[in-house]
Point group: C2
Chain length 352, copies 2
């Protein structure tokens, strides 16, 4: 089943944009490879596996790379204000490192066996090494930021970039803390949920866009880019929630049932626990220690009937509109907004 709302056909213009994104993604990958390849073999192999560049035996593989959303948004934001994207490749790499550390630790926390259709790091190397490799990536992210100096970024700006990235990391952990706490609760409000994803997901995306605009010398425009990234991050996470329930495994590379079995308080669940006519039954199902495979279709049916999906999709539209408004308000020239607008729309409608 492909999302009910479907995905817009690629226009010729979007094809050009996709080509540009691919170029950015490749540049960030090269930057990451330079950083990662300098690390000792035992850690490097795990990192190269996680990034999808190698299989677990260390042989090169041609797989679908990650989405690189944060780094592409970073570079697009830098360019939108007239900045030099080549100069900020190290900060783009730092953002991807933080994001990937959060994935590796998240997979341990959620007991996820697969990511992008491949065994997760902890499944192959054990939880101890997976914890360690995540910590290592956070150190590499700092090293990446320090590399900005070699590209001529002034010390003051590097320090402010550290400030932006560190605040985002802090919020990410705060959001993750709430996400874990929420698993054991059935009384989460939509407001609680929005606060949680603002920290867990939107903060790092907001740091990506604002740091891009800041390092691109966008001055006061950076705060609009922060708001743009935050709103886009909210839309992105809600879309993720929808895909976690109604997505197709081949596109997302994730087990569809993971979020539900883990009793994650995704937006559709939070909504249905409050609004569904079967909320008592849903509450009972979510009060178990784990939701059994057999109960999943029952949960999905309750969610389907509750209107939770439309509610979530409406919120995505709302955040997406807000993101685009902030982009307009930034005062950046229209033609420089185009690529960011397209990215925002495509993320809000994605099926992957």
């Amino acid at each position: 089943m492909v999302g009910r709302q479907g995905i817009k056909e690629h226009s010729g213009e979007l094809d050009v944009t996709l080509k540009e994104w691919t170029g950015y993604r490749d540049s960030v990958q090269d930057e990451l490879k330079e950083i990662i390849n300098r690390t000792p073999p035992s850690l490097r192999n795990i990192l190269r596996y996680h990034m999808g560049w190698e299989n677990e035996k260390g042989c090169a593989r041609q797989g679908k790379p990650g989405k690189f959303i944060r780094s592409i948004l970073h570079l697009l934001s830098c360019r939108a204000v007239g900045g030099d994207t080549a100069q900020v490749l190290p900060s783009a790499a730092a953002l991807e490192l933080v994001h990937n550390l959060s994935l590796i630790h998240d997979d341990i926390q959620d007991r996820s066996h697969e990511r992008h259709g491949r065994p997760t790091v902890w499944k192959l190397w054990g939880k101890s090494q997976a914890i360690n490799i995540g910590d290592f990536m956070l150190a590499l992210a700092s090293l990446a930021l320090l590399k900005l100096k070699d590209n001529g970024v002034p010390s003051e700006e590097i320090i402010y970039s550290f400030h932006l990235l560190t605040e985002a990391c802090k919020e990410l952990c705060e959001g993750q803390c709430l996400d874990i706490e929420f698993e054991n609760r059935v009384d989460i409000t939509v407001e609680d949920y929005l606060n949680m994803i603002r920290k867990k997901t939107a903060a790092l995306i907001a740091a990506s866009t604002s740091m891009g605009a800041y390092l691109g010398k966008g001055g006061e425009k950076a705060q609009y880019f922060h708001q743009f990234g935050e709103a886009l991050g909210m839309a992105y996470q809600i879309r993720d929630d929808i895909l976690g329930i109604w997505g197709i495994r081949e596109s997302t590379g994730k087990s569809i049932e993971g979020d539900l079995r883990q009793r994650k308080k995704t937006l559709p669940v939070v909504y249905a626990l409050r609004e569904s006519k079967n909320k008592a039954k849903l509450k009972r199902l979510f009060s178990q220690r784990h939701i059994g495979v057999g109960d999943i279709p029952i949960v999905v049916e309750i969610l389907d009937q509750s209107g939770a999906r439309d509610h979530a999709q409406n919120l995505i539209q709302k955040y997406c509109r807000r993101a685009l408004e902030q982009l307009e308000a930034s005062g950046v020239e229209r033609n420089h907004q185009a690529a960011l607008k397209q990215m925002a729309n495509s993320l809000a409608e994605r099926n992957y």
Copy 2:
């Protein structure tokens, strides 16, 4: 049993020094409290518990605080070169945060149930939250370094401090990676071992002393302080290994058998696996998945008879001498070396 080598009686001079260390420790604790108390309650409570300031219910407790070795060495190094210790309290706090993050993650990795005689963070809050709180502490460490700006430290120096701390974090993870790998091996050489502890333990202590001397405007003296800290860190870890086998629980707060049961390749074990006349038997014991409680006395007896303890103690002396030589070589005035010398000696002979 108190360590065979015993501990030197406290001289009057040492009492003065102890008072000074306590003052430094209290100042760093205050700095840490300021940082930690600004975080959201759910994370703050775990941090305050781990630091020993509260019990698990959030009630204040008067417990023995940690040793604060890294931050005290940082402040003493700063002062030794004529620097302002009040100015560098944030970097002292950053060092403690990194160290404590490594303890929290280490306890999950080693499945340790107790630290300082109290349940570990993961035992009380689960592994997911313990992983998360560690990540959070690394973000707080960066925030602490950024606070140096408020104390008038120039941007260039903050960036160099980030460089020193980040390199140490990277090495810490590399060392941790080796430590975990070594658990499954019985062919570790003393050289392998020394390389592992140089990264796992000595790197952060070296960063503590060199960053202290650097921020204290010690200029080229900082590299001698790096060597001093590294050698001291080696001595410190080997002493830790000895206490892990022959220490007393009441002093160390750790289970004595932890290292052995976990098949840790501590120096006495590495030595005995190569030099003991019973090495074949020892190898068999260490080739099991876990060493049973019943086998521990057999292992300890083999270690006792092998001369592993004297060998380790001799290496401590060697590293301690090297540390003091570097301190001499730094050209710091003799009376400014005294406190650091005393700290080095007391760490090498500690029973706690």
